[in-house]
């Protein structure tokens, strides 16, 4: 809890500094500190009911995952743009499939569903305890998801946060 609070204070104050750009005015620095403290106290009151406090180690692993996801996004963008401009050669084949998801925490499942939606050509339509219903623009994109590499990577990310 102390670690979580101090991390929250530190990152919020850094965020405030970067957004405001007032590095030298002590009154404004103090006011920024007060508002950061207020937000941290409110957040801590909300978080009391939430047992997941592993976000710090998650952040470290997130970098590698984002890099992998960025490459996926680039490829998916190319596929969708080709389907837009050359519909004869690259026809769309809308598909709906149900994916099993192996994540156990709400955070992990959210990361998985958001990653699916963030890559163009696939959208998570329905998320529940067993899995995710996905709508894909092209059957290939659905098959690629069904191979489960993204699911495994998100689960590995989730485990590393324990």
């Amino acid at each position: 809890m102390i670690l979580y609070l101090s991390a929250l204070l530190f990152s919020l104050y850094g965020f405030w500094l970067l957004l405001s750009g007032f590095w030298h005015d002590s009154l404004l620095l103090g006011l920024g500190g007060v508002s950061v403290l207020l937000v941290a106290v409110l957040a801590a009151r909300i978080e009391r009911r939430d047992p997941e406090h592993h976000y710090l180690s998650l952040l470290v692993q997130l970098g590698a995952y984002w890099f992998w996801l960025l490459r996926k996004i680039l490829v998916a963008n190319r596929d969708v743009v080709l389907a837009i401009w050359r519909p004869q050669r690259y026809p769309i084949s809308p598909t709906e499939i149900r994916l099993a998801s192996s994540q156990r925490t709400p955070t992990g499942r959210t990361i998985f569903a958001n990653s699916i939606t963030l890559t163009p050509g696939t959208v998570a339509m329905e998320v529940d305890d067993e899995g995710i219903v996905v709508h894909a623009l092209q059957t290939q994109a659905a098959q690629d998801l069904a191979r489960g590499e993204m699911d495994r990577r998100v689960s590995r990310l989730e485990r590393s946060a324990k």
Binding site: P94, E96, N114
Partner: protein, 109 residues
């Protein structure tokens, strides 16, 4: 500096092209769910390319940091919005147009 300028303009033009592609896709695709995918291009790479191009214009400054924050928040919130739209349409009972299943149609390349 001229190299940065050229790179920045290439990124801006690339982003503009992707934005137009997304708009054309929204007009061209057949139903609501497929149109979300076209909008996804505008949400991800179009916004990313334009913001990166602007960051190169701004150089190493607080403006670039703010642009990076915008990109980060956009990439967090836009899938949430897309999912909310798709989920709402599904709950309202809108059926997607689906391609005939692969068994009874010649396979797509």
């Amino acid at each position: 500096m001229i190299i940065l300028e050229i790179l920045s303009w290439l990124l801006l033009l690339f982003g503009a092209f992707l934005g137009i592609s997304g708009a054309v896709g929204i007009l061209r695709f057949p139903d609501f769910y497929t149109r979300i995918h076209a909008a996804g291009v505008t949400d991800t790479l179009c916004a990313g390319a334009i913001l990166c191009g602007l960051m190169l214009q701004a150089g190493l400054s607080l403006v670039s940091v703010k642009l990076a924050f915008i990109l980060l928040f956009l990439w967090f919130t836009s899938p949430t919005a897309s999912h909310a739209l798709a989920s709402a349409a599904r709950h309202a009972g809108l059926k997607p147009h689906l391609a005939p299943s692969r068994e009874d149609s010649p396979s797509t390349p």
